[in-house]
Symmetry: C2
Subunit: 340 residues, 2 copies
């Protein structure tokens, strides 16, 4: 029921995704049966592979996490996460309210391995593939222990999602010299460099390394991560609109753009990161699809969920976490309530 478009996007996306996935993959759709039921029945190709679970209510896109926890029971989002807890689903996917999804997931699934809070991960395109970037907004205040946890979770996620045996991890800073940056960042750097986690740790990286391709995983606090991610999204949007204006300002430009249209489309696709990202650190798999996803993006998000469900990134996270000295685990200060 979630996202900007609700069932009008989700149902065709499910049909599109399932047509390309093995028969062993099936879908539980949580939401208003009166809306979902007839639509599913109409599509014979879905026969037997999609089951509708009725939910009375939905979480509003503007509800605060605390509100969602109080009145979330019985909503489609709650049901979806509960199905993971009860082992009826391998992964839950939602395009709804991110803060509510995090809060409900944390309550129902609990954090794994003494972690404090889920981390939100973004995938950015780079010349070699994708950069895994975290945290992008779930944890505003982070001490060194939190940053080290992000490195562990991000590395395990990148390996599972992209099949890279030894992803290269970098820690975001304002310069590559040892003395720069916050104390928390320097402390995390010393620990990661010392090497007991057996991560492929490269050291400090800077903002332009996010799309540079020299590292696979970039770690930062949720404040810096959220600002950097949105700054890049804004810059990309601005560049596209300026490019469009420049190309339609005169006849030669317009003809040129028409000739180059397939190339420009490929360019646009190349810049689009995967439309779904997991919440890392939970006992169970929950993925967030971006709210504005259309049919093709949502279908892509379902395929991402299936791929990740086949991998064992949660297991890898837990294994990495066990290498941490116990003093470091769970020592993170309690972060402010409310993700982004």
């Amino acid at each position: 029921m979630g996202g900007d478009h609700g069932p009008s996007v989700v149902i065709p996306a499910v049909a599109l995704a399932l047509s390309a996935l093995p028969q062993t993959v099936s879908v539980l759709l949580h939401g208003d049966e009166a809306v979902l039921g007839p639509e599913i029945a109409r599509r014979q190709a879905l026969g037997g592979r999609v089951e509708v679970r009725h939910a009375e209510r939905v979480i509003g896109m503007d509800e605060k996490p605390a509100q969602a926890l109080r009145r979330g029971k019985g909503t489609s989002m709650w049901h979806a996460v509960e199905a993971v807890r009860e082992g009826k689903a391998t992964a839950a996917l939602s395009a709804g309210n991110t803060g509510a999804l995090m809060a409900i997931s944390k309550l129902l699934l609990r954090m794994s391995a003494d972690l404090e809070r889920p981390a939100l991960v973004a995938s950015l395109p780079n010349p070699r593939g994708f950069t895994t970037f975290l945290d992008v907004g779930a944890n505003v205040d982070c001490d060194a222990a939190r940053l080290i946890e992000f490195a562990i979770m991000g590395e395990a996620f990148h390996r599972a999602a992209h099949g890279l045996p030894r992803p290269i991890v970098g820690l975001l800073n304002v310069g590559s010299e040892e003395m720069k940056g916050h104390e928390e960042v320097r402390e995390a750097h010393r620990f990661l460099r010392e090497g007991s986690l057996a991560l492929n740790y490269k050291g400090f990286v800077e903002g332009d390394d996010l799309t540079g391709g020299a590292v696979d995983v970039v770690v930062t606090d949720g404040f810096t991560g959220n600002v950097a991610l949105k700054a890049m999204e804004g810059a990309a949007r601005f560049m596209r609109s300026e490019l469009k204006m420049a190309l339609t300002a005169n006849l030669a430009g317009t003809i040129g753009a028409a000739l180059a249209r397939p190339s420009l489309r490929r360019f646009g696709e190349r810049l689009s990161p995967p439309p779904a990202a997991p919440l890392l650190g939970l006992n169970g798999m929950v993925l967030k699809c971006h709210g504005g996803a259309g049919e093709v993006d949502y279908a892509h998000a379902i395929r991402v969920a299936v791929d990740l469900a086949r991998s064992d990134f949660s297991g890898e996270i837990e294994q990495n976490m066990r290498r941490l000295p116990s003093a470091m685990v769970g020592s993170g200060q309690a972060p402010a309530e409310g993700g982004v």
Copy 2:
């Protein structure tokens, strides 16, 4: 002598800039007379408007600020800043080592109005003009008082640089809700909103507002600012290279790009911010030109310096600072040594 290209760029740039500036504007060139002298003598159009001041040494691009302070005396950078202190120049412009320029400027010119450290400002393009963005790397740890100082300095700078009587100021955060973000950010927000500074304060803004055009001045700490700036630069570089690859991948794209070349060039120019930025908060004007500036950019930087020298942004900063309750001024914690 500074920047990636030294005199081979600076001298033609001076000639280019002066040809478009009134005769009352003249230039002091600090550096190796054996290199600069003959080049200047060769260019008759410069007659009487450029004077070479010999300096034995230069500051290396990799020297640490502390090193630059110890052995900086007698270098071209030191001379240039000293000329401002002695009233022989209205502004100093350098494409050299940023950290050294900040340290030498702070030592020789001192901070104005109890400010702690200079702030580094960046100009970003937006659909309506330019966004003034600070701090982009001079102050890694910032308390609320520092953020308020940045708002004051940024507003005064934007008014002076762009002639806008009431620039709109925003404070960078991860969301527009009151409870989000760091405590320092929320404290600065409460003070700015209360309104005793008489700034045109809009409230919290997010990363994509940097290039959105809804605000003119965006304030943040030097860690977040530096990461966001470099992330956007990296994203823009990545997009340009992807665009180029997409447009040369096949014949139609190549022909299209050739037809659209003037439009694409305009697009590129539109994305280029002014190549010089002042260090804000000093008793005297010092501007940093980006190290990779070519002839046209460097000439543009000289014109920016002349424009700013005619404005009274330092006076406006001081005036705004006087509106601050004395308890807030200079209460910033001592930031770590070494800018970016």
